[in-house]
Symmetry: C2
Subunit: 256 residues, 2 copies
Amino acid sequence: MGKIIVIANQKGGVGKTTTAINLSASLALAERDILVVDIDPQGNLTSGLGIQRDRLTKSLYDVFFGNATINDVITQTLLPHLYIVPSSIDLVEVEISLVNKSGREEILKNALLPIKDRFRYIFIDCPPSLGLLTLNAMTSADSILIPVQCEYYSLEGLGLLSDTIRRVRGAFNPNLDIEGVLLTMFDSRNTLSRQVYDNVKRYFNEKVYKTIIGRNVTLAEAPSHGKPAIVYDIRSKGAQNYLALAKEILNEGSTG
Amino acid sequence: MGKIIVIANQKGGVGKTTTAINLSASLALAERDILVVDIDPQGNLTSGLGIQRDRLTKSLYDVFFGNATINDVITQTLLPHLYIVPSSIDLVEVEISLVNKSGREEILKNALLPIKDRFRYIFIDCPPSLGLLTLNAMTSADSILIPVQCEYYSLEGLGLLSDTIRRVRGAFNPNLDIEGVLLTMFDSRNTLSRQVYDNVKRYFNEKVYKTIIGRNVTLAEAPSHGKPAIVYDIRSKGAQNYLALAKEILNEGSTG
Ligand SMILES: Nc1ncnc2c1ncn2[C@@H]1O[C@H](COP(=O)(O)OP(=O)(O)OP(=O)(O)O)[C@@H](O)[C@H]1O
Ligand SMILES: Nc1ncnc2c1ncn2[C@@H]1O[C@H](COP(=O)(O)OP(=O)(O)OP(=O)(O)O)[C@@H](O)[C@H]1O
Ligand SMILES: [Mg+2]
Ligand SMILES: [Mg+2]
């Protein structure tokens, strides 16, 4: 029942975490049970949802190293239907200590199996790299949602990301689909946004969401209050954009 | 004579590459011999300076794996005094294959020693991570220049970055200074920029450059033409900001 969607892009700062927070919150507001998994040692998703990392006794790190099951670490957030598996900086150990372990790409996949059907969607927020943590996320997922910032370097990185998806399909996860491509930080006042949009549309076609996330300062302010934008200021353009994206995804889910 | 400055911040998309390109270009325009080293496998610095990566026969990868000296890979750019050691996607191998090699953090440092005095400044552009590539850069450097985007997550990441600098000083490079902290993508229309500025100033004090880089679309457009902003449009605010930063650094160099 549950669909696992990895949110990935090796380019930094393209809106992975902002999408993970606000899309999941919007779906939770629509009363779907949602789990977000923070697989980035930097833990922006965890703090953006108001979880105090130094108060956590266990995190995703403990699941990777066999000290805990995923059930032990699932945590309620401030929103009724939204749950989180929090990150910890110790996750960097995964890319160092587990690099030679057999089955190292499937640890997260196996950990999520027992709880997959408790949620409508499980989103995994990745770090800006294509290392073992992101590989675990991509190996466990049904599909990948790709945020693309409307600027040149983000566009340039899509070739590498596509190669990686192909490689993961070939080696670890033949069923990995592209869920959709989300244009982020669109700035209607400059032509660069438009050019990147046209390029992405040509490359990914019907996979590009109709909803475009515009640049809106509320989305950048909300994490400093440990809240999603829809809790911090639901009337902001940023909150409204992500609510529209959630609607688009729910409609796709029922027809597509 | 040559000063090695690493440009690092594990948060993605804070302006590391944009700073590496435009600061080095501004100093080259002031007729200083400058070398930029692209240690990010994604190679944004390399493409932002118009270097076609698929035409390269050798890159920094070959220096790490002993197939080439740094002299073999230093490449002229479109600006007379600006040189580059280009990146290649194969650099990801460093974090996989060299993870157990003794002296693995000092490979870049040893490679740069023979050429250090040919340049006034050597800038190293890092990926958004604190792995072996960034460790090599920090171990080889005299100082670190930290770009900080004027938004919450970038501020949140400074604690971790400071811990890493302390750790590198303790284990690999006791002389690693903080060259300066550069506020980037400052948006005068929103208070968040101001709040981040105040916080950073409180934390880093006189290390914060007087020059602030404002948000300016020219800086985002220039890389799509393979040029620094000062070549693409020297009258743009973005180009002018980085020229002012270069001036501030040159003055510090002569008095500080
Ligand atoms: N639509 C938007 N409008 C304005 N600011 C935004 C928007 N989306 C994201 N931001 C801000 O831009 C910065 C980068 O976004 P975010 O951290 O979500 O990207 P990321 O891809 O997760 O970064 P990383 O690669 O470091 O994990 C953050 O400060 C965030 O608050
Ligand atoms: N002052 C600015 N005004 C407008 N856009 C900017 C500015 N500085 C950088 N950018 C754009 O913001 C994006 C992120 O900048 P950049 O790639 O330099 O950051 P980075 O820290 O090197 O990212 P990464 O962590 O992925 O290496 C790029 O698309 C860049 O062109
Ligand atoms: Mg993130
Ligand atoms: Mg960069």
